[in-house]
Amino acid sequence: MKSGIVSAEKLFKSYGDQVAVDGLSFGINRGETFGLLGPNGAGKTTTISMLVGLLKPDSGEVTIRRDQNGNDVGSPLLPEFRRMVGIAPQQLSLYDDLTAKENLNFFGQLYGLSGQQLDKRVDWALEFAKLTDRKNDRVGTYSGGMKRRINIAVALVHEPEIILLDEPTVGVDPQSRNHIFDCIEQLQSKGITVLYTTHYMEEAQRLCDRVAIMDHGKLLALDTVMGLVEKHGGRSVVSGELGQRPEQISFPGSVDDDLKFRFESNTPLDEVASLSSQGVQFQTLSVTKPDLESVFLTLTGRSLRD
């Protein structure tokens, strides 16, 4: 059983009349990758800002536990708890006029690193971001993907126990995105707790142990990806084209004049096998399993990308 390392209790934050976060409560277990999934404007960044102490909640509380037993509990505003957290903000947060090494050195020093320890961590972070050969180039000369990687590396230079990645793949090419995924999986293997916000459901599905789905500042559902799909994803969709119109059997879905069909099923493969044994000929066949997109659709009535 993993112990909780971050706890958010009934967080509420508004800007004037606009409610950004509305009574949000969740806990993040030590060593897990926790996803915050929601469309733009759902309140993910505001939530992260409250978790790291950048924003003060109007009400509610954030606590961080330093020990496994949960006795050493404190606010993210306290320096000793801040040292446990690293953040890679959605907006690139780097000094373009400094080199990658200088950026890492500077932020490492802010967290109290110095001497050989600092050098060692900077070298590790450069290697992590696969930027060792470009370490003395100014960040301003990097590609978007390289900047994203160094943005994450800076968050890790002081060896935090918790890393918050706010939409780390925004504006990144597929190759760099895959590299970032590799980096995160590397962190997971080291047992680092990751809080990952995204509006790409396939990222949450690939990387996260548990996912909290947010919309309009509210928590709609929280579970493992499998659990969410089972609870809220609905049935699989079977579609395709038939060889001939079925005459003497009961077909589960509609078939149009072009012999194209579509039906939903909890056991799609069994149902297809049964139809086939009854003489139904399938020219093409497609089975679409429910995913987080369909979970979000079920929960909100609209798509994640609306």
Binding site: G53, Y95, L98, F106, L110, G112, R138, V154
Partner: protein, 440 residues
């Protein structure tokens, strides 16, 4: 340690921005040189400021040549002989200040007070009347030296007395009383001329050649050097300018302040820039207090201001500026740095974006600069503007720097401007910290 790290990072970022570095290093040098060259006519500005005068000698006598030599000996004047047309043309086109035309017959009467004064025509550049007035003084001085030489010529003086006595004897219309008076005067002059001869003989015999008095057997007069310049009010522009040793004395304090203002402008946008770059998020998430963030910026700004002051002082000294007191200059510079670091703190929080902070910052800077004497030295401003200038910290900053460079301030005199600067700095730091701590 973290404050130092932040300061070093800010300095790196600042100096890697070529435009920012230019405004902090290049701009004040340009301003210093510009204002220094504009003030080229100030006292002690060196040999290059000698006034050029053309002389047309139409007399070509021994005494006209002596007169020209006497003018040439004057360190403030460069004499160039020329023909009349060329000389007039050079004054008209501004390459010379004036032309002096020595008319024929100059040598016969110049320096002889009993003769009709000789005529010297002078043509001046109307735009340089002050220098022309000085030239007239130098001409009178040279004529006086010529008179001194001719008065000591015994043969000439005796000849004059003999001729006069002869004329007196031949004049039948003069009354008896007047004849006796004039005769007595001429006898006295003859006696004086004879004694000049003795004096010259004694001088030749003794080693004190060239002395008018204090020699061997005859004391004609005991001459002592005396400053006959008119006393000048030390608070007047003229009085203040008298203290200047170099044209750079005024321009470099101004230039230092332009550099300081560039530092203030450069660093005041750094907090807004941290926001726009997103790095403020990292700073605020790190175990660093807002006060430490501000102090890091303050330290970077302080170091840069001190650097600019040292650089400009060094450059000024290379060009001829001679600070009266280096310790006073250190005190003044430190006070200036603290003051403008405080001002930078407040300015940096005047807006959320780089554009708004930069715009507001330069607007405030320009008003302070105009009022404080960065553009026109305060001493040249009208009275009410001089009073108004006291509200600008730049006025106090320049005053403290000038106090150390050429105003010969004592510690007591330095206390007022420096304490005002320090007060502004501390208040600025306090306001800046309060504003940032309220900022979310």
């Amino acid at each position: 340690m973290r404050i130092f790290s932040m300061a070093m990072k800010d300095l790196k970022v600042l100096f890697r921005d070529k435009m920012g570095a230019f405004f902090i290093i290049g701009f004040p040098i340009l301003m210093g040189l510009f204002f220094g060259l504009v003030m080229g006519g100030e006292p002690g500005s060196g040999g290059s400021a000698k006034m050029k005068v053309a002389v047309v000698d139409n007399d070509q006598s021994e005494f006209s040549k002596q007169f020209v030599e006497s003018l040439q000996a004057n360190e403030s004047v460069t004499i160039e002989t020329d023909d009349l047309d060329s000389a007039k043309n050079s004054v008209r086109t501004g390459s010379r200040v004036a032309v002096l035309v020595i008319e024929p017959g100059f040598g016969k009467t110049a320096g002889l007070f009993w003769e009709t004064p000789p005529t010297i025509k002078i043509g001046v550049d109307q735009s340089r009347t002050a220098e022309s007035a000085m030239l007239q003084g130098y001409v009178m001085e040279s004529i006086g030296q010529l008179a001194s030489v001719r008065l000591q010529d015994v043969t000439e003086l005796t000849g004059f007395v003999n001729d006069a006595q002869k004329d007196l004897a031949e004049d039948t219309e003069i009354s008896m009383a007047n004849r006796m008076v004039v005769s007595a005067f001429l006898t006295s002059m003859e006696s004086m001329a004879t004694n000049f001869g003795k004096l010259q003989t004694n001088e030749e015999l003794s080693s004190g050649a060239g002395q008018l008095g204090g020699g061997g057997g005859f004391d004609f007069v005991n001459l002592e050097p005396m400053n006959v310049n008119r006393e000048v009010d030390p608070n007047s522009v003229g009085g203040q300018l008298k203290k200047l040793k170099s044209r750079w004395d005024i321009s470099f304090p101004q230039a230092i302040m332009w550099g300081v203002l560039s530092c203030v402008a450069g660093f005041s946008i750094s907090i807004a820039r941290e926001r726009s770059m997103g790095t403020m998020t990292r700073l605020q998430v790190a175990p660093v207090s807002k006060l430490e963030i501000l102090l890091g910026k303050a330290l970077a700004c302080f170091i840069t201001v001190i650097f600019v002051a040292i650089m400009m002082t060094g450059l000024g000294m290379l060009l001829g500026m001679k600070p009266d007191s280096i310790p006073m200059l250190v005190i003044a510079t430190t006070s200036v740095a603290i003051c403008f670091v405080g001002i930078m703190m407040v300015m940096s929080l005047l807006g959320k974006t780089e554009q708004s902070v930069s715009g507001a910052g330069w607007a405030v800077n320009m008003v302070m600069a105009m009022l404080g004497g960065c553009m026109i030295p305060v001493m040249f401003m009208p009275g009410f503007m001089q009073q108004l200038s006291y509200i600008s910290p730049i006025r106090w900053a320049i005053l403290s720097l000038e106090g150390a460079i050429w105003r010969e301030f004592s510690i007591g005199e330095m206390f007022l401007p420096c304490s005002i600067l320090l007060l502004v700095g501390v208040v600025g730091l306090a306001i800046g910290t309060t504003m940032l701590s309220r900022d979310e």
